[in-house]
Each structure stands twice: as structure tokens, then as C-alpha cells.
Amino acid sequence: MNLHEYQAKQLLANFGLDMPMGVCLEDNNPDSIAKALVPFQTHENVVVKAQIHAGGRGKGVFTENGQHGVQVVPLNQAEQAIASMFGNTLVTKQTGSEGKRVRKVYLTEAISVEKEFYVSILIDRTQQCPVLIASSEGGCEIEEVAQKSPDAILKLPIDPLLGLRPFQARKVCYLFGLTDELAQRCVQTLLKLYQAFVKLDASLIEINPLVSTKEGRICLLDAKVQLDDNALFRHPEYAALDDPYEKDPKEVEAGEAKLNYVALKGNIACLVNGAGLAMATMDIIQHFGGKPANFLDVGGGAKQEQIEAAFRIILKDPNVKGIFINIFGGILKCDMLAQGVVNAAHSVQLKLPLVIRMKGTNVEIGKQILKDSGLPLIPIDDLALAAQTIVDKVK
């Protein structure tokens, strides 16, 4: 699960980490804005930050007015900066050309930055353990730094049984060129970040930049946190942090029906059991010149109602011109699947071409159900032929 910056900072603040004071605005009405600006009355400047699930906001541009997604402005221009963001579409390097609509704006204290650094903690798949990645070049994309100046990056594997050790944190301070009190403060910051990583069941914490200030603070200027979806059962309170506006509405509905659905841009809807087969089914459509409209794994133990829900969800996509069902029945029985498809097709009065390929448990009974339904379904046993057929049908 992805979080907004303001949510990530709220969670991290509980671990005693230092960051600029901030207030999140959820609507653009003058009273809320006036109230939100109260804590900043003695400040000269304020930082206004658009809250979307994508990086590159500072360089990103609003399509409506050409303004940037992060603006440092004098206090008396804060209202104007806020207005330039609310309801508008921000396009950054990570959003794609369609951009993302801004529904929340975060106001923070402007601080006097001395040096900028990069720190992240994540699970490294190759080393199969958490790693801390640090770079003395803060504010840049870490992938770019890795290419241009690999020496500026430190990558430290962390033993999960011991946690991040102070000697490791000190190595990072030397890389950053910090000494004395500032170094000690930085060690504490890194140790707290690792504590947060474990306690939050995070899969990623990225602080870019982490900064030192003239007053001797070590401060989290930005924060990106990803929580492990598999660990959400341990943290029921996180459910409220999920922002449905950041997802495709079909993906939200699929989540509620316990289906694995990802919206794509093509016109052939797919309904498959098993994640690997679902992905491979998209591939074979593409191989024969078609374009998949979605990834959909109904799972190994799908029930009839879930099949019907899956059918409704894939048909909500207006681009869909045909449907391809590919089922390898193991635990999931083909007769149950067939009945679910027939029910759903009847209830939506399906007009689109539908190619269905089934294998495995109870496949003969399943085929009979399709045949008896009187619906114009096209059953094909051979996977390649089935994929070719649906591609031809939507042309």
C-alpha cells in the first residue's frame, strides 16, 4: 500500500524523527486554509506540496496553469499557491502524460537546508534481507546517481535478527561528511528509521532528501513509505490510510470481491485463474497482435459469485470489445466456472464475443453447461488457437 507524504510523515513522527512542521489540507475552502496557516503566522515562507502517489512533484507541472507541484512561497502568497493545486492535474516524470488530480495539499515549514542526502530502507530481493541505501547526493533520483557516480552510494545489508547496528549508521555519516554532534544525531535518525521500517511492516521507506540544517537539525524533508499488503492484518488502523482516489475504481471494486485485478489499456478483457497464467494469458494475446484490457486472477478457490463479480468488473471498462476466459481447473472446477460465466452473461445480456478455454477438473461437465446455455460463447481447447480467435474477433 502506498501512502501520501503527509501520512508517511505522521507515521514516522511517532518514532521521534525530526521533520518540518506540517499541516494537511483536504479542501480548498477559505476557512480551512486560514486555520491551516495559523501555525505559520510567524514564518516568512511556507512550502506548499501537492499530495499524489507519484514522485517528481517539484519538477512536475500542472496542466491547467504551468505551476509546479512543490512551491516555496511567502506566507501572503500561500493561498494563491494552494489554489493553483486543488482540483488540478499534476504531470510528473512518474505519472505518465495523463497526470494525477490533486485532492490534498500539504503545508510545511520552510527550513534552511545546509546539505541534502538520500536514505532508503527496503527489502533487497537479491540479498534476501533488508538493506539501507545511502547517498551523499540528496534530491536526485537514486537510479541516476547509481549510474553516474556509483561511489557516492553505500548499500548496507541488515541482519534481521540484529537490526541496523550503530557501526553501520556511522559508515553512512562518514559518507555524508558529518562529524561531532551532527553525526551523532544522524546515527540516531538512521536507527529510528530502521525501527520504523520494522514496526510499520514497511516494504520501503525512502527519505529524499534527508537534510542537515544550519541550526544543527537532521530533518526528513520528504518521505515515501510503502506498507506490505501482506502484513496489513497486523495493523487494522492502516486501512484508513488507503486513498481510493489513487486507484482505478474497478481495482477498488475487485479488491472488495477478493479478486486480483489490474486495469490496462487494451480492448480484450481477460479472466484467468492463477497469477502466472493470468499474466501469460495477457502475453499470448499480445503475441498474436491483440491488446489485453486487464490482468485478472480469480484465484484457485473462486466461488460462483466471485466469477460473476469478475465478469461485471471487466465489462465496466468501456474499451472492452471482447472477452477471453482461460481456466486451468485444479481446485477450481470447470463446471462451477462455466455456470458462473453463463449466469453472468445472461444477467448482463452479453453482446461481446467471448472465447473460453478450459482445462482440468470437470471440464466435460463445464463444456456441456456452456453448450446448453444457448449463449454464443466460443469454446476452444487449444490455448494458441483460442487467443488467435479472440484477437481476430475484436479486429
Binding site: S203, G276, A278, M279, G330, G360
Partner: protein
């Protein structure tokens, strides 16, 4: 010979009294798997399927029935603890079927596996199948046939697809190994490739991979340097967009890393015959076998 399991494997089932545990232990028993005991805390003293004794702890089950492998079918919140219990009891082979275990739990498990006597398969694995000898997993038994092709895969249903294609073309399987679709797993491609390379029954190897991570690239390097047998490979996710998790927790392209193109290029360079699409996996294996 098969790898990891055979006719003599004595199987313990952790979580045997749950709905999933009961169903799949019955399927395995019917196939002929020698299930010697089950474990469910609090259910010790019961019997399931009229003949399998249930114990409260793995240690008790080991003392009474001497299993040498454990299949874990417990819910995700408790699964990592079950694996740790099996490691603690010194069980040499643990197959964890459970999907959805928190990643940080698996990081701890992975650390505890170091220096232990245990090989872990999974988690999020369909299990192990040695046709004609032992089924230790949730795969549909009927599509399998005893033979000479070894399969190693990150995906369940895609493995069934490959097995079916082989069986239909008259080629049986020595062992199929689902290493699991999670980012942190016990046994890797390389461990399995090494075992297949040394197994006299295995004459050809199918590797099924998908987007995310770099395990397939590492496997390709190993194939190039060490594998003497014909290899066919399929990588799922050519059509997957970056940054989106495609079902499996591990199936995600991060930035420019983990793409299907990079994996296919590495495997091709290592001499593997690449399946052009998922319906071509069986045929690709036959092409690889006929190359010599």
C-alpha cells in the same frame, strides 16, 4: 530418481485439521503420498482421514512418527511461525504452500534457514510433485505422467499448463518444483537446477519465470556455466506495465529492473530454448531436446 522427494518420503502436514489442510492431505493420500502425521496446536490426540494421528507440536510428531518432510498449509498470519517450528525440529525438507505471508516474517525465516538442516520450498508455492512417487502439494494429480522432464517455476497454474502440454505430447515429468511467487523464498532456481543436473532421471529442464527481481538472470548465468542438459524457458509478463504488482507479491517491475525482456535475453544467451508464448512451452522443450 526424482529430486527432493520420492517413494520413501515421510510427510508431516502442518495445519492438517483446517479446511485446506484436510482437503489437500486427502488428495495427497489418495495419490499414494506417505503422510505419517499432522500437527495443529490444540488438536493433538485427534485422528484425521481415519488413520493420520494429529499432534500439538512438530517435536512430538517427530518423536512418534519420524517424518522427513513437512507440508505447511496454515493461514498467512501463522505460517512463518510454523516454518520456524519445522526448522527447530530439524526437518530436512519443508514445503510451504501458504500465500500472503508478511515479507518481514519471511526475511527472519530466511535468516534462520542459514546454517540449519532444513531446505525450504516456497512460500506461496504449489508444492513438489514426483509423478508416480510422491505428491506434496496442491497441483491436480491427473495431468501428470512419470517421465524425464524436470520443471522449476515461480507460478502454480502456469506450471500445470506446462505439465499438461508435456503430458499431451507424451513427455512425462521427473519432478515439478514450485519455488513460489514471493520476493523472499527458501529454495532458488539455482538450487533446483543443480539438483536436476545431478538427477539421472531428468533429461531436460523447463524453467518458468516471470517479471520482478533478478532470479532468472542469476539462473541464466548458472545454466551457462554448469547445466549440461537441454533447457527450455518461458518468462511471463512481456505485456505487464512497470510499477504494478501482477498478482504475485514478487511480480512487479521496479524502475527498469525485472523486465521480461532482460530475463529472456539472459536465458537466450545462456543457450535456453525460449517459449514464444505460454502455449509453446512443451514444444520449446522438445525443440531443445532435439537440438543435439
Amino acid at each position: 530418481m526424482s529430486i527432493f522427494i520420492d517413494k520413501n518420503t515421510r510427510v508431516l502436514v502442518q495445519g492438517i485439521t483446517g479446511k485446506t489442510g484436510l482437503f489437500h492431505s486427502k488428495q495427497c493420500l489418495d495419490y499414494g503420498t506417505n503422510i505419517v502425521a499432522g500437527v495443529t496446536p490444540g488438536k493433538g490426540g485427534q485422528k484425521v482421514h481415519d488413520c493420520i494421528p494429529v499432534f500439538n507440536t512438530v517435536t512430538e510428531a517427530c518423536a512418534a512418527t519420524h517424518p522427513n518432510a513437512s507440508m505447511i498449509l496454515v493461514p498467512p498470519a501463522l505460517a512463518a511461525d510454523s516454518i520456524l517450528e519445522a526448522i527447530d525440529a530439524g526437518i530436512p525438507l519443508v514445503v510451504c504452500i501458504t500465500e500472503g505471508i508478511p515479507t518481514q516474517d519471511m526475511v527472519t525465516v530466511k535468516r534462520k534457514l542459514q546454517g540449519s538442516k532444513t531446505r525450504l520450498i516456497g512460500a506461496n508455492s504449489p508444492g513438489l510433485m514426483a509423478p508416480g512417487k510422491c505428491k506434496m502439494g496442491i497441483m491436480p494429480a491427473s495431468i501428470h505422467k512419470e517421465g524425464s522432464i524436470g520443471i522449476v517455476s515461480r507460478s502454480g497454474t502456469l506450471t500445470y499448463e506446462a505439465v499438461w502440454q508435456l503430458t499431451e505430447k507424451g513427455y512425462g515429468q521427473s519432478t515439478t518444483v514450485g519455488i513460489g511467487g514471493d520476493p523472499i523464498i527458501g529454495t532458488t532456481y539455482i538450487d533446483v537446477l543443480k539438483a536436476f543436473n545431478e538427477d539421472p532421471q531428468t533429461e531436460g529442464i523447463i524453467l518458468i519465470g516471470e517479471i520482478g527481481g533478478s532470479a532468472e538472470e542469476l539462473a541464466a548465468e548458472y545454466i551457462r556455466e554448469h547445466i549440461k542438459k537441454p533447457v527450455a524457458a518461458f518468462i511471463g509478463g512481456c505485456s505487464a506495465p512497470a510499477g504494478k504488482r501482477m498478482g504475485h507479491a514478487g511480480a512487479i517491475i521496479s524502475g527498469t529492473a525485472g523486465t521480461a525482456a532482460s530475463k529472456i535475453a539472459a536465458l537466450k544467451a545462456a543457450g535456453a530454448e525460449i517459449a514464444q508464448h505460454p502455449a509453446d512451452i512443451g514444444a520449446a522443450m522438445i525443440r531443445a531436446l532435439n537440438r543435439k
